[in-house]
Symmetry: C2
Subunit: 767 residues, 2 copies
């Protein structure tokens, strides 16, 4: 209940304009509240960005929590993966790169902070004990909408406004009258749990209103470099920098008064400043372009995307870009708040993967060489263990061209990989190896099965089979040898076995689709290896040793060290998306399985199994079911394979209500680069891709009244939900273009050919 | 005397083949002894390189002395600017980049060391106290000639041979039979006085016999990156690396056994190894290509320059390239040892500036962006305070095309400079700001006056005037305001005033040559500012304060803190090359001036003025005259402007005899990127460019018997010296093509039009 109360407060507070729900085909942005999920574990950012844009220009709060002086891992860092927590009251500046919803931290490049008065270059406390350059702010004087962010920096009387294009962040600062106005460019600031991750930084003052440079870091991405070109609308009167590392290097730079007005600055940790005289209400604009290639590349991006000083124009264009994306699904709801939840979820599904190339198509490849994207647009940030589930399947409906480009980007990654592997979790020309499996195979299979894209299918298959045979990768050699991952040889042995088996099934689908029967059979065989970690005695998927025995010491409730990763046996053991009937049979049949599901949702979970600072928090669980993390996202739909599909309908309505909402705490766990939100978008529309790589969706219970989906083929899919109400959660029948279909599943072709999908709802379960 | 004794010993020892002085037009390389100058302060390397090549593949000795554990400046580091000291008995490996003769340290990239037996990755001592991977060696089993180096690594029974092309180093190691043969790639090793200068390193194992990678350093060059591609002639059976820094970074690389056989290695300080089984006498070849652009660029260079495994062919080609360069001056001497001194000097003048672009013309620019050299070949390593004196003037006779390219490279540097400045001392896309003045102006003026090159003259003038007006550069603003550099505002005030004045005269010559009279007059005026630091009372150039008074505390013998840099008032005060008659008049007239010179060469210098570890050592002085460093190089020729030119003839013969020789101690100070050697080449031929930027050479006393210079216009200049003998040091007359000229100076056109330059020598001075 407290969630609903807070929704109303927020609604009355910062989003009143969204209540004026005038129907306007081109104003979907008004339903988006970028603050949703900025509280606790959502890990999303409220700043300015355009769909899938390279720049995420967003406020960074509470720096102090993130950076421990001893450089140690601070659990709270995890809350700051996107640099912002709604509860905070101070802002230390605006950074141009932020992950959206990820379960690990990095980025935070190029912190810009405007100040007035005495020049202070330390963000927090100075030696004198006085405050650093941060500013206090309040949510009353803060505003965010797609492509736009505004806040009053109360410590300085400065109004900050942000907007963006794909590759350029645009700041507009309205200053008070001051002879001591400053813009700080802090190249020390970073988002990461090791303080600090800088390798090298470089700034050139090209003229009195243009600077260029780069930063190289060794964070989550081990070898990452971002270039910039930063243009000021007004010439600075003077500038300078301070160095915050103790590293020695010289040349004979010591001959210069480098600290002030010396146009070349370099070092590991430097903070630069630019000084201005300002009139009351004077606006100073900053355009900050990024590039992975070079500072010349950043300059090209700058000139191509924002050639002139017109903040309002860029802001308007950003909004228009968002409206175009959001208009791909036009919904009606009973409750206007549902539109806020829905469109914000849809917004969150359009924040990553991000564009990763210059306007001329050049980008830094995984091999650290500069490449040119020929025949595709290059993307990065592939949080694939999360996003293969529902985000990429959603793209196959509303973003097929982008998904095609993303697959081509993954194939380029493979070609540039010294391991001959597709991405696991990759960002900014780096593989960070986070989480398990090789789910790029799922993304490729799902697109192929759904006839999305024009990527080279044979090349894709080869990339998949290459990946599936890198023996030194994460227990994979043992999996190939033992037909499961032995627990005494590898951590998370059961999770890996299950996911490799599913991924192998995906490869079999690809091979099958292009007529490579032998390969298909080989991988179909591997896809059955999940059986090898099922313990019929305990009834659980269970860690198995290399001698063939199951591990004796085993707690199916614990998420740590029990052969699973980020999940326990109760949840993760239900992961056989490639053969759900087989799994159910193995677990004792439909009746017993539906009881297992009932227990999962009903049981109490002890505090010792909860980790408030990581992925399994109270906010994201129902009973022992964990919605706040990915391994269980398909579970609510598994009742469809029993005789009680109405329980799927109950569960998904409950989850939509309890785990999503239109306020800042509206995400129950990491949004995970859009997966959590994609779950919502699908579920609200009434179906979900339980098995990516197949052409089927499991039907749930739509929460919308109607929806019109713009399909890439120019057709429309109209989803109509009759008898929709908070009580009428049970699907009575489903028909496609007037023809009744099985109310448990729907084929992709039934959606993609357009027409009408009709749900008839009722208060009683349809047995 | 001891020098001569040692020459004979060395000659009998390592260079016997050179004594077989069979005349052969194409075998000039046999007169080159790359060990000359490898002892003490010569700072040259004995390794393999081709003329002006990007790769200098050379042994690195006595690592321990160079790298102090506390990272402090170690004076002995200065002796290891080129990584090698002849007195040493251990080699720790072979590096691919080495300065030649410089007065400051950097480079030392990509140390490769073959070993056998237990794998040891520490170069010096291990924790156990046992020896590191270095090997003992002896000069008896060491050999060096242009483009080739050979040594027996006695600790391992390995014969190491090195050769090179422009961009690729070629190693050939002959192993004993071993199941534990290793090749170590040490990315920690560096040449620099701060331990250590690494910023980041990266290695990719592309396949079982090819690796790529890069290193970024913060040494003398503040932001320097070199890429490589390293190809082995035999597949390694296994490989791995160790990390020697404490820096944290992860991704989830911890999931792998990264240390062994993991094909991507990165970190600040890593050493990698590659393991082989070898048969007795088995040769393993390594081709290591460099690039400033990318590892792809290095691969291109590799494939273009050494597509196949044929060490002897590359060695032969390297020798042939050297013969081509050395044949540009074909000399005959009375004493065969003089040929060794002469051709080794000529060799040393062809080691830098170095080529700095990939085979496709791409290179890293000063602005840290990748550029393409259009219409020229890009060079780097501009030690201009040294080399403008005689090296670039020598290029104007025998390397006009390269000098033209070097000037175009300097103009590109200017265009890429955020300061709009020509290079001061630049290397590898960095300006290190070493030493004073802006002597690129002299190089440009000298080429222009001598009609060398096709560079854009107006662009060159603009680059010069831009440079001459950067007020924040090294006292230049004060020089412009005060008409001298005030000593209370800037160090080395007199030296700067004198050199700026000379450089301004050079600019005036350029402006005059292209008809810009106004600019010429402006800089002619500035070129007279040398007068403002002359103190008529003391008779010295003397530090002057901003209030117009001369500094009271002043020791004209001291080289430190007396308003001069790397020279004292006695020597440096004679630096007005643009107006020698004016200087002599100012100093009291010809008679008094020649007495000053006499005193300079005759006086005793106290120990306190000597710095055995830097530039003013006993080895390089005669009286108080310092030949071991540059500021005095023109001084021996100044008698020509008095009534006693015969004293110039005496001095230069004395200096050639005392300060140069055919053994490892044959350089009396840093070769300074070829300047010291260029002085010898000119002087041996009988003339010297006292005032670069004019078309005149001062005549000295030739030490050769005859010389034939190949001129770029297809003509030949034949220098004939009649009555040459060790006693007949006095020039009796000089004639050009049969026409007697003033025996004190000769015009550039008299040389470059070809024909015969005849010196008639005698035992008596010609008054």
């Amino acid at each position: 209940m407290h969630r609903l109360v807070r929704i109303v407060i927020v609604f009355a507070g910062i989003l009143p304009y969204q209540l004026i729900a005038q129907k306007s085909a081109t104003e979907f942005t008004k339903y988006v509240n970028p603050f949703i999920g900025t509280s606790k574990m959502g890990h999303v950012f409220p700043g300015a960005t355009v769909p899938f844009g390279m720049v995420q220009l967003s406020p960074q709060t509470n720096f102090e929590v993130m950076h421990q002086e001893d450089g140690s891992y601070n659990k709270k860092t995890y809350e700051y993966c996107a640099g912002y927590q709604y509860r905070d009251s101070t802002i230390i500046g605006f950074s141009h790169t932020n992950f959206s919803g990820t379960g690990h931290s990095d980025l935070g490049d190029f912190l810009v902070m405007p100040t007035t008065g005495e020049l202070v270059l330390e963000p927090l406390k100075r030696d004198s004990g006085q405050k650093g350059f941060y500013s206090v702010f309040s949510h009353e004087r803060e505003e965010a909408s797609p492509g736009y962010y505004k806040v009053d920096l109360n410590s300085y009387g400065i109004k900050a406004e942000l907007t963006a294009t794909e590759r350029v962040g645009y700041h507009q600062y309205t200053f008070p009258k001051s002879e001591h106005a400053h813009v700080i460019l802090d190249l020390v600031y970073n988002i990461y749990h090791h303080d600090n991750k800088n390798v090298w930084t470089f700034i050139r003052v090209e003229n009195d209103s243009l600077i260029t440079g780069y930063r190289q870091t060794k964070g989550w991405a081990r070898t990452r470099k971002v270039y910039f070109a930063m243009s000021f609308s007004k010439a600075f009167k003077s500038y300078g920098h301070e160095k915050y590392d103790s590293i020695k290097y010289d040349g004979f730079y010591r001959r210069f008064e480098q600290k002030e007005n010396f146009p070349e600055m370099a070092g590991k940790d430097i903070r630069a400043y630019f000084n201005f005289d300002t009139e009351e209400g004077e606006k100073i604009g900053i355009r900050m372009a990024l590039s992975s290639v070079s500072s010349l590349g950043a300059l090209k991006n700058l000139k191509a995307e924002i050639p002139q000083w017109d903040f309002d124009k860029i802001k308007k264009e950003a909004k228009s870009k968002w409206n175009k994306e959001l208009s791909k699904i036009e919904i009606e709801t009973i409750n206007p708040l549902h539109k806020v939840t829905f469109y914000t979820a849809l917004y969150h599904t359009s924040l990553s993967p991000i564009l990763y190339e210059d306007v001329d198509g050049k980008y830094l490849g995984l091999d650290q060489n500069i490449h040119e994207s020929k025949g595709f647009t290059n993307y990065t940030i592939f949080s694939l263990w999360d996003t293969y589930r529902a985000l990429h399947p959603l793209f196959n409906i509303i973003q097929p061209e982008r998904n095609n480009d993303m697959i081509k980007s993954m194939l380029a990654h493979h070609d540039q990989s010294v391991h001959d592997m597709l991405p696991i979790w990759s960002h900014y020309a780096n593989e960070n190896w986070c989480m398990i499996g090789y789910h790029a195979t799922s993304v490729i299979a799902d697109a192929l099965v759904k006839n999305v894209g024009d990527f080279d299918q044979n090349r894709a298959l080869k990339a998949c089979t290459n990946t599936a045979n890198v023996r030194y990768f994460d227990g994979l050699g043992d999996y190939i040898d033992y037909h499961y991952v032995p627990d005494d040889k590898s951590h998370s042995s059961v999770s890996k076995t299950l996911e490799y088996a599913y991924n192998d099934w995906c490869i079999a689908q690809i091979a099958d689709k292009i007529g490579k029967t032998e390969i298909s059979n080989e991988y179909l065989k591997r896809s059955g290896y999940y059986k090898n970690v099922f313990d019929p005695k305990s009834g659980y998927m269970r860690p198995k040793m290399s001698d063939g025995s199951f591990r004796t010491n085993f707690d199916p409730m614990d998420t740590h060290g029990q052969g699973f990763i980020e999940g326990n046996a109760w949840n993760y053991g239900l992961y056989v998306p490639q053969n759900i009937p087989g799994m159910i049979k193995m677990m004792g049949g439909k009746e017993r399985f539906s009881h297992h599901l009932d227990s999962l949702f009903a049981m109490e979970i002890a505090d010792k199994y909860i980790d408030q600072h990581e992925d399994i928090t109270r906010d994201g669980i129902i009973g022992n079911y964990v919605h706040g993390n990915e391994p269980g996202h398909h579970i609510p739909y598994l009742y469809n394979w029993t005789d009680k599909p109405y329980k799927t309908q109950e569960r998904v309505r409950t989850i939509m209500k309890a785990m999503y909402g239109p306020a800042e705490d509206g995400l129950c766990g990491n949004d995970d680069a859009g997966q959590m939100s994609a779950w919502y978008v699908f579920s609200a529309l009434g179906f979900y891709p339980v098995t990516p790589g197949s052409d089927e969706y499991a039907i749930g219970s739509p929460s919308i009244k109607s929806a019109r989906l713009q399909l890439f083929n120019g057709k429309f899919l109209d989803i109509k939900v009759e008898n929709q109400s908070p009580q009428n959660i049970y699907v009575q029948s489903v028909s496609v273009n007037g023809k009744t279909i099985d109310s448990r599943s729907i084929k992709h072709k039934d959606l993609i050919n357009g027409g009408e999908l009709l749900f008839l709802m009722g208060r009683q379960a349809n047995y």
